[in-house]
Symmetry: C2
Subunit: 396 residues, 2 copies
């Protein structure tokens, strides 16, 4: 099977390392980190004057692998390593690789190739674990900027991201107002609400109470799996809307065939109602791919994100003053994690500053998940893709 | 200090035991249980024709102690054993003990004197733990009915309860249509939604992953405290509204004085933001008073509650046909755990059956917690108290 004509094809993750001792990266919360490795992928070709670059930012548990495949087996559908935003990125797709050079890098603090708590600290030869310094979204963006400098890119056509990726896009426009010509902020906000912080805190507490967490020193031993699974369950409740959950599961009990196919790990969790089996399955899938300590650091970074206080002395309107990029805000009607109301606050603050801002509220019952590419969210993503096209076409 | 004139004064919990072998109580899910002890309290005086009784039903983690004090120290404010609905029950209060004989019993499966998983199974001499049979809200109501029979009460002026107590009130009108003349269903629904089941499941999973839970056999050993605390944290997020949480905590960081006063147990949990400290504190308070296994059983009972299927073959409207009691439904505008929409479904189903139903939607930013008596919910409770008075006065 050949690669689909609108696919970027087989891609390879690249790695860039900087901030070697004694030039460690200074972090917002006061820590130092070095060397710093950033995993990234690129799609399309950078033009001669390096003016066609787009930066794509991933969400909480994403990776640099936004488009394409790793191996022929992926193309054949034998493996499932298709990039997480493959529907959006490729020749002729909304982020057209015939036109744009697209970069996606794994965030600082994650566990997909960029330096994070599961990385080995060269000074000790052991994983950082909880000795990893606190990182923030501004730090993640700062690291992305170093990568861009390394690639020789001074201007970005756009920075585009959803959820925590949307926060990064917004942070780009604030921290480096002259770099992106535009930003697309999807299903994100300028700061988490108390309820969102609380949900994150429950997840972190579940990880930390896992007997195998051992203050983060579980590498090479038992991994803190159950706690991470429970954290993911809390997450999934917040990613779906009540209406969407009701439609998908309602009060149905677990299908016996599905229940019989559960792994022993999944069976360790509550099931009976279909929604419980779903959560157990999501928990299982997540622990197979994500690091518990990275979850602690990355959710904390989201909690710390606070545009009003970092850039506006407590005022979002003041903070927005520094933005030069054209902004496209996107939210989904049933997203209660990052609600349309939160998006509108940013839109209003930009408007009060006479900034160039567009806003699209996409109707969906799929809650926060609506921005992700799944079968159920095809309609939302068609609208989103069209919105990208319409928006990007006029960014000069 | 004397007892306030509108207080029921010092009260004593009483115990009633039934279903001794070989006459065990048959449970909805197929189990058997006996002997069954029900802890209960009464306030006011039963009149000669036993026609002035009100039954008050408590929520998830409540007890039979709905009004009054246990000791003089409580009256003096030295101890905090005032009944959980003391503001509503007493001479001249909305549930007037000059007029009514009020009964409140601890639910089956709980840990406040009624038989539950922490009770000793006389057959083994050990706590039931997870050998306790599954109990449901219909079982709880059935046990309350046996208590009423024991007290010689055939008719109830009303059954009144909030949250899970509201579910019991509704169940009373369905299972024993001839017993209550009226029911007051506050902040409750005919069945949990998928989202609510999911939140309960997260709490249960947190308990079960606690290394000290030991499949429920923690009695006399370490108690499953951390897991229960995390379960309570999830609960508290659902009891508050997003708006209320934002107003109360926002993005404030923990007050250093408060943080310094934290117990070692509280400090084991995430704090930093004020909302995190609040959750840790709620978790601590809860583990000091509640049993983890009871939490598993009682939340499961809530999940199982399903009026449509038990009484209406899948139709709420059909289920409501059997109701003879006059119904007062109460909901709170910002309650997202048991939303006004869910209350209105019951109201509509009753109306379609030409039943006598009133509905009050009380404006509040305090979410599900609005029905509980706290300083912040005084306004809501004044309205609620007045609603009780207005409603009860015409029940003959």
């Amino acid at each position: 099977m050949e690669k689909p004509p609108d696919s970027v094809g087989i891609v390879k993750t690249q790695y860039f390392t900087f901030a070697e001792s004694p030039n460690e990266m200074l972090l917002e919360k006061g820590g130092k980190l070095g060397p710093v490795t950033i995993a990234y992928e690129t799609y399309g070709t950078l033009n001669k004057d390096k003016s066609n670059a787009l930066l794509v930012c991933h969400a909480l548990s994403g990776s640099a692998h936004a488009a394409g495949y790793y191996t022929d087996d992926d193309i054949k559908g034998l493996k499932k390593n298709t990039g997480w935003w493959d529907l959006m990125i490729g020749p002729g797709k909304p982020m057209d690789t015939n036109k744009y050079f697209i970069i996606c890098s794994n965030i600082l603090g994650s566990c997909y190739g960029s330096t994070g708590p599961s990385s080995v600290n060269p000074a000790t030869g052991k994983e950082y674990a909880m000795t990893f310094p606190e990182v923030t979204i501004p730090d993640m963006v700062k690291a992305q900027k170093v990568l861009l400098d390394h690639l020789g890119i001074e201007k970005l056509v756009s920075v585009i991201g959803g959820s925590m990726g949307g926060m990064q896009a917004l942070e780009w426009a604030l921290q480096f107002p002259d770099t992106p010509k535009s930003v697309v902020v999807i299903a994100a906000s300028a700061a988490l609400s108390a309820q969102e912080i609380a949900l994150d805190a429950v997840g972190r507490n579940a990880i930390k109470m896992d007997e195998h967490w051992e203050n983060g020193n579980y590498y090479g031993k038992n991994r803190a799996l159950k706690g991470l699974a429970v954290a993911r369950m809390v997450g999934h409740i917040s990613y779906l809307s009540e209406e969407g959950m009701e439609k998908k599961f309602g009060r149905r009990t677990e299908d016996p065939v599905m229940a019989a196919s559960m792994t022993p790990f999944e069976k360790e969790f509550e099931n009976g109602f279909a929604v419980e089996g779903y959560l157990a399955h999501q928990g299982k899938k997540f622990v197979e791919r994500f690091d518990a300590n990275a979850y602690l650091y990355v959710t904390k970074a989201m909690d710390y994100f606070d545009v009003d206080n970092r850039y506006g002395g407590g005022s979002l309107t003041k903070a927005m003053k520094r933005i030069k990029a054209e902004v496209l805000m996107v939210s989904f009607t049933s997203d209660w994690l990052f609600s349309p109301a939160q998006a509108k606050e940013i839109v209003q603050a930009l408007t009060l500053n006479n900034k160039d801002v567009s806003y699209i509220e996409i109707k969906s019952i799929h809650g926060h998940d609506a921005f992700l590419l799944e079968k159920k969210t095809v309609a939302e993503n068609k609208i989103l893709g069209q919105a990208f096209k319409n928006f990007l076409i006029h960014i000069k």
